[in-house]
Symmetry: C2
Subunit: 401 residues, 2 copies
């Protein structure tokens, strides 16, 4: 019989204080007062607000330079330049994917993240090296971080022959999801690329998550082709489109029609809510029941100097990008980093109810909105029933070199 963990006086999502009992990695009781028994581990929570574990539904665990010397950013800004810069820097810098992904997982735990969907580069230069490194990290942290791996053809599929075969291999070896990006912009062959992606999905019975940076009508065209295939293969609920900047374009009638189709097909969206690009409207997605989750994308890598793995900061950025001010709206921003992420990742037993997996983040703020707007250090992070971080620091067993 495992030891009981008793949390005293915490406010679930800002509600009135309760005690919460955790046994065998699950929440087994919630009540006004739960008496401690001999041998219980008891944590006094002093009225802190508890959120469910944060979900980073769009990450790149193999890319971060966290813990490595500062890398001066001076590459160009086109997508192709950033892709090429990274692929060559992987050789020059000592970018070990197992070590770096572990560092990011340690950091993410300290910030209260308990589930990550990570795209992982697969290309003909590096083969499956990054996939294998992140898979190693996934195994090491399996008890406390739920990691999904997307086999991601960052450098293109059709323009780099051999990539599809490597993705096929990764999916055999344990990648969870078929990735893709910009069928027009990068591969110059939308039919070829999307047929290959959905072909892999059908063959392996896996979901799809495609990066779509293409803007305006070009992106809308590619999106239509993605939706066509989702419909043809009856992949309702199994397709995510990441970024989908085209859904931020000004042609509201066109965007609304696509959103309606996305809702009907059960396609989900992932956003990072960048300030410098058009983005899908979180409110417009919610109105239609579309799951729109958020992710930190790359943090402190060769693409961007920003990022610290904090999903409460991402919730703030989602809120600012969507001009969310009212408390109910700030809660929507938080949803993109919690429940909507869990919905997209199909996490088992996610939430703050009896029977749920015990993934909780405690923050000392008077009101729920302030978890997002102020983002204080996490007082306590519990994942799978284990205390993994305290006062902003990940505990010993989950630290990384």
């Amino acid at each position: 019989m495992t030891k009981r963990l008793l949390l005293k006086t915490l406010r679930l999502m800002g509600a009135d204080p309760v005690d919460v009992l955790i046994e065998g990695g699950r929440i087994t009781r919630i009540a006004g007062e739960i008496p401690a028994q001999d041998g219980d581990t008891v944590e006094q929570c002093a009225g802190a607000i508890a959120l469910p574990g944060l979900v980073d539904a769009h990450a790149h665990l193999d890319k971060t330079l966290w813990g490595m010397p500062w890398h001066p950013h001076a590459q160009g800004k086109s997508l192709q330049q950033m892709i090429d810069t990274e692929r060559s820097l992987r050789h020059e810098l000592d970018m070990d994917a197992a070590r770096q992904s572990a560092r990011q997982v340690t950091l993410a735990l300290s910030k209260g993240t308990t589930a990550i969907r990570s795209h992982v580069d697969i290309d003909t230069d590096h083969g499956l090296k990054m996939f294998e490194g992140v898979a190693e990290t996934r195994a090491r942290f399996a008890d406390v971080m739920q990691i999904e791996i997307v086999a991601f053809p960052q450098s293109g599929m059709m323009i780099r022959p051999g990539t599809v075969e490597l993705m096929d291999q990764a999916l055999r070896d344990g990648a969870d999801i078929v990735g893709g990006l910009d069928p027009c912009g990068i591969d110059r062959d939308p039919k070829g690329q999307l047929d290959a992606i959905f072909g892999l999905a059908e063959k392996h019975g896996k979901p799809v998550d495609i990066h779509l940076h293409e803007a305006g009508e070009l992106g809308a065209f590619s999106l239509d082709m993605i939706l066509d295939r989702t419909q043809a293969l009856a992949m309702q609920g199994k397709v995510t489109v990441s970024h989908a900047f085209c859904l931020g374009m000004n042609d509201t009638a066109r965007v609304n029609a696509q959103l309606d189709r996305i809702a009907a097909l059960g396609v989900s969206l992932a956003t990072t809510a960048p300030a410098s690009r058009p983005v899908p409207s979180v409110a417009a997605c919610r109105e239609r029941g579309i799951a729109i989750c958020a992710g930190n994308d790359g943090i402190r890598d060769t693409w961007t100097p920003y990022g610290n793995a904090c999903m409460l900061e991402r919730a703030m950025l989602v809120g600012l990008r969507n001009n969310f001010r009212a408390d109910v709206e700030v809660a929507w921003a938080l949803d993109t980093c919690t429940t909507d992420g869990a919905r997209v990742m199909e996490l088992d037993g996610y939430g703050l109810e009896v029977g749920c997996r015990a993934d909780l983040v405690l923050v000392e703020v008077p009101a729920l909105s302030e978890a997002v707007t102020q983002r204080p250090a996490r007082r306590l992070v519990i994942s799978g029933g284990q205390i993994v971080a305290r006062d902003g620091e990940t505990l010993g067993p989950w630290q990384s070199a």
Copy 2:
């Protein structure tokens, strides 16, 4: 003779380590090694990076609810709704401007801000009460926080008769700058309002700083009228336009022509770099030598639940909004919160050179960019030669109730 303050081993803007001597509130010596003398206060800085004091060049010290109970945000989103909500809430909530502005100054010191330009509401409901409160705070913190007060007709000038007379009184009583907002959108009388504003400026010999939220062609029209008056009154270097969302519109030719005129007239811009609105491009301003400074705008007030008075966070938001990634670009974002703010506020002796006023912020990061991207707690904040905050906490004398 005042006590000497000797800072050992700090990296000015990330350069090689030096020692810095501070006497009489000024930097008097910078050298590889400066030996301590008896009676010196010596601070070991352990290679921390020193920035000049941060400048919040667009704030609203009379509006914050910092330190007060959480206020649920549920008002509408139109400018007029937010203005009206606030004016009535000032009566309902206990919004004492002296107390609240002091709280924000205390908070801002802890984050390394040493100069603030604050717009302060003046309206016919509340008269000069907010101005008097913020003036009290300005006097109390005079040694450590350089505060400029803008007499700001938040509720309109022409639509609320009596406002111009109140602004006139505030300028007699020590307000530094003539404020304004949206001559079309709020006052519905651009000629009347701008003539009144520039009339007050001429009468009192004071600069002007006008909020311009008006978008697209409407804002461009109002902006042209502001530039016309700047030219007619030869107010080069004395006019700031805050927000200037119209300069973010898609008509590049129109925007560039206005930017050229802004540069020629020495008009400066203040931005908060909001993610949900069009904004002037920092790069386009820099190319033309236009001073573009940044501000946190209102923090945790009836308008917005966001904000924590941190100007390094604002620099990050400026960087994200402008898609700044290269180190040189991140430094531009930082400039908006440091040197450009000092230029707009015409701060005397600003900088990190011998002879400058000793306003320094120390952050423990390996590279300058990371001051912006990671925003760690400030190790030490020095203002006017005095240590005012340490490890993220403002010291006793400058704390507020």
